[in-house]
Symmetry: D2
């Protein structure tokens, strides 16, 4: 992928904070999903166009380490990077920060499936737009 990393800004919503005043741990994964969407968009692809072609990325595994709490109204910076990319799966890494403070580090593996939910292969045009090497070398 030529676009190997992208950073977006996210403001923490009131409804995302728990009764202890912390950004709820499950919400981080919604942010990471936003990071993936924007990384794909910067590569020139809207995920909803992939879906309309019958191509869906589903999450196969996730890991997250929480370093410091996020709070309501915090402006956070999320950096999403592509660590590994093939025709059938993609691995991402994530770092969520508030200024210099690291809030969380995470990684995920997604696999590509078709409308039937079965693993499928990225068509050559999308594979190349996303930076995969051309057939015969990849």
């Amino acid at each position: 992928m030529p676009i190997v990393s992208d950073t977006i800004e996210i403001r923490v919503r009131y409804s995302e904070v728990d009764s202890f005043g912390y950004l709820h741990h499950a919400r981080y994964f919604v942010f990471f999903e936003m990071g993936r969407t924007e990384l794909l968009r910067r590569a020139g692809i809207a995920y909803r166009d992939m879906e309309s072609r019958g191509l869906f990325y589903v999450v196969a595994s996730l890991q997250c380490r929480y370093r410091a709490p996020g709070r309501y109204d915090d402006v956070l910076m999320l950096t999403t990077r592509t660590d590994r990319f093939t025709r059938v799966r993609v691995d991402h890494g994530y770092e969520l920060r508030r200024g210099e403070t690291l809030l969380a580090e995470a990684s995920s593996t997604l696999v590509l499936v078709g409308r039937d939910g079965r693993p499928t292969t990225l068509p050559e045009d999308l594979y190349q737009v996303l930076g995969g090497e051309a057939e015969g070398r990849g």
Copy 2:
């Protein structure tokens, strides 16, 4: 912990399913949190009573592997177990199933903090109720 494992039933809500028809991957962590709450309750402790004593468990790390999708209106069985338990942290494991089908396996580490968000130690009474060994042996 004498209560090392507990299983609860959860029905997937309409609002928890994504546009592909799958239980959204971030919702699993809300289920795991419900599992922890019920495991604690079976040991005789309501988490909200811990909170009113100024004791809060915050998530330090999470891992999840997704094996098969959940869908709207599925009745799932979540088994939550305590893998390790000390005065300052607790490790849990989770298995989410629909009938015989394993949907997800996960694990988490929680650390105990006080109202100020700093790590603290479980008072002796709670530690023993939760099955920790008595002082001098533990």
Copy 3:
């Protein structure tokens, strides 16, 4: 509808409570949706079977008055009733209580649409199961 009212029990999850300690106002609508699903099920119909026939209820309007706050771990009773039912729309009323305390009163109008999102009419078999009067009288 012969099944004009149904009451379900809902325990408030940790992730549903805001930083003030109150059940977040938007979550009530997720509960009301659960109430509708269960009311339909008691009439003998699973909403996901309707969806697989290409029939979808979409929300056209909602109103809610909040009387008292819900809190984490509260066990609430939600009563959902059908106030008006035709082949193209259904009006519901809701009362959410904790013991004797009324937390919220609400109402909604749903309209039936097909896969294309356009208004459609309930097939005669479903209409009668749901308690509509037979053709010629309804």
Copy 4:
């Protein structure tokens, strides 16, 4: 209130869309809450500063009419306006659009409470910043 209206842009997240592909009806209220937060910020007040002074707005009633569906990745414009403002309550109106298309119209009443959850009165400094008329005239 001198700042009687404000418009913000919101992109619909994947996790906010239901299995029919529509922005879930309960999510609109999270957007309206974001609209209120930004309207307050434009008036020079961060809601979390109000909270740290022990002042909380809680929702007393909500109404919403849904005109057209929102979808994943839509860029929506939310206009939030103040319709009525006193020391103890505030009424807002909302219009959510995608380009020229009106998706939803809504209104809400919020009441001001203290840490104990009981109704309270806005201090004079905040009341005037928010555009209330000076004591003796208001």
